[in-house]
Point group: C2
Chain length 361, copies 2
């Protein structure tokens, strides 16, 4: 299959190399040359870990038109705060039949991508989809070298609208069978577990992160009993909003069971029973995607849907506020909201109909 | 002077022993026998540090009537959440001319004490006052032994109403010359610096405290740059409310200069320039006065005055919320509020007049 990967970070380079190793024709686009300078001319990435060898890409560069031309599948692997700018960048060059997957969408990724394309009056017959999480745990380990630590078993993904799930599933699982169907993007957007774990746990260990350069185990030490109780409250708010929208959520405890087959009597217990968290170090700074991405693109939209539905979100709102003050940012302004996603004038039923069937035209 | 000390914790035992060592007749009351079991019969406390020797008290026990009978000065040295119950307990036995000092009042201590006495219809001619902080840094170091690490230079204290400051200053500095006059209780209540430093810094190090038993320097490591920025926001909210009430506050940076003669370009810098913070370890748990006292008795009343004045307090409110979720408490309900202090129906001018001159009768 002819595939374009947009974004050459830890995830993008891994997925590009992995797909090329598995016989696909892969183009890798990055906005700046910085991250691709080591692979720009040779177009080769060495891959280690769960897959190994040297992958050759058909294109590596900063020209989006060349990168996506004639590509059936476009895998967007950028932080969620860059989704809107990727949408703007690809809009003029999209072709009928292309399938775009946000890896992952965080909360409202596909909705935001669609809104930008609508504003730019893109009428091509394309599929926009969002994954619930990233399919690999991977890192760039050196110039032109990536390591895939783990390939996840089952990554839920949904098209917007869900009526295009069939087209999505004719394409995506052919190259990555790990992807599984999710009913619609409200499921993928509101089962965004990073929103629950990342910002709260990082902010409640801010001194430790900054004074000791993150030299502790993020999950097993950072999520102590009090931290876990705060995360449980965030999780309750998320689940309540998901249910009010009609999407049956997994609680964080259920998700740990689903993703790791690990059980616990509460969130602290489940996290501490999970060997899979052993060795995951804390970030070295608060200027990290756990905040910069998960606050504006996960917590802010969940809070905004809460306001829209009349469901209070004091735990989520408090974490967003603390993040704002800690980093002197205004994530309320920079983040995704119901208004920003173009849904403010819809009823819940209309939103459901929109994610299922698309805009009435 | 005949003095009663109410509360036999680290502070109460130190102040009782210190005053007895300095020739005063001191009674020590404690609600339960647990803390005084080692000194109940001998009535002797060994004192170390800034003062040393063995002090003999004239009474040690759990009978409040005996403890306060004929005592000119009553030094209340209990956590602020116990002020209301101390007021109820002493009310039936108060005598004309007695001076009661809350060490310290946190925010609204004297106002709450007065309200309880008013509700119990106490008409005695007494003085109620609150200190801005505790006069010693002291610890119980063994059974019947206390250590005074440091006696503070200048502890602001104010009577409620301020028209009784003269009566207060005829009494208190005679036994502890470290006490200095503050204009009124709005100054002592809104220059409560513990409110700024303690709960925010503890919650933003919750994982470190719980996973490593507080084995780090609370100020010098716990208050990292991001934590300091959140504390600065809390401090801004506190100062804005103090100014709106007519009390000129010290900022936290100004307070560090006042208390330690240490300067800084911002709060992080000032804290890290302060040798006096060297060696102060973090608490070993979140179930600590830094939360249990400073959230309901400092942050909640400051937030409540903010609502009363129409001044938003998102940083303070977020910290209170996180404390609630972390400890599964409702400090909004348990804490001091404008309503709870009996001030809700007053204008700002009426509150000022009340703290200056007392209730119009």
């Amino acid at each position: 299959m002819k595939i374009c990967v947009v974004g050459a970070g830890n995830g993008g380079q891994a997925i590009a190399a992995y797909l090329a190793m598995h016989g696909h024709d892969v183009a890798l686009f990055n906005r700046s040359r910085k991250r691709i300078s080591g692979i720009l001319y040779a177009r080769k990435i060495r891959i280690e870990g769960e897959s190994s060898g040297v992958a050759t890409l058909s294109y590596v560069g900063t020209n989006i038109e060349k990168a996506i031309e004639g590509r059936k599948l476009i895998m967007v692997v950028v932080p969620a705060f860059a989704h809107a700018s990727v949408a703007k960048r690809v809009a003029p060059y999209l072709e009928d039949g292309q399938v775009i997957v946000l890896n992952p969408g965080r909360t409202g990724g596909a909705l935001e991508f669609r809104r930008v394309l609508d504003e730019m009056n893109v009428k091509k017959d394309i599929v926009i989809a969002e994954a619930q999480t990233f399919v690999f745990a991977s890192r760039i380990t050196g110039p032109g070298t990536v390591k895939i630590f783990k390939i996840k078993n089952a990554v839920p993904v949904a098209a917007l609208p869900a009526s295009k799930n069939d087209l999505l599933f004719e394409t995506l699982p052919k190259v990555l069978p790990e992807f599984v169907v999710s009913p619609n993007v409200l499921y993928t957007s509101f089962n965004n577990i990073g929103a629950v774990f990342h910002p709260g746990a990082l902010l409640m260990n801010a001194g430790w992160v900054e004074s000791r350069h993150g030299n502790f185990q993020f999950y097993l030490e950072g999520i102590s009993p009090s931290v876990a109780r705060v995360l449980e409250k965030i999780d309750e708010e998320r689940c309540q909003i998901a249910r009010a929208l009609g999407a049956e959520p997994m609680t964080a405890v259920e998700w740990i069971d689903f993703a790791y087959d690990v059980q616990g009597i509460d969130l602290y217990d489940a996290i501490h029973n999970n060997e899979g968290y052993q060795g995951i170090a804390a970030p070295v700074s608060l200027s990290n995607r756990y905040i910069l991405e998960d606050v504006p693109m996960s917590l802010v939209p969940i809070s905004s849907f809460g306001k829209y539905l009349g469901i209070p979100t004091p735990a989520i709102d408090s974490i967003v506020n603390i993040a704002n003050f800690a980093l002197r940012r205004n994530f309320w302004k920079d983040g995704r909201t119901v208004e920003h996603l173009g849904l403010a004038n819809m009823t819940v039923d209309q939103i459901w109909n929109f994610v299922e069937n698309g805009r009435d035209t």
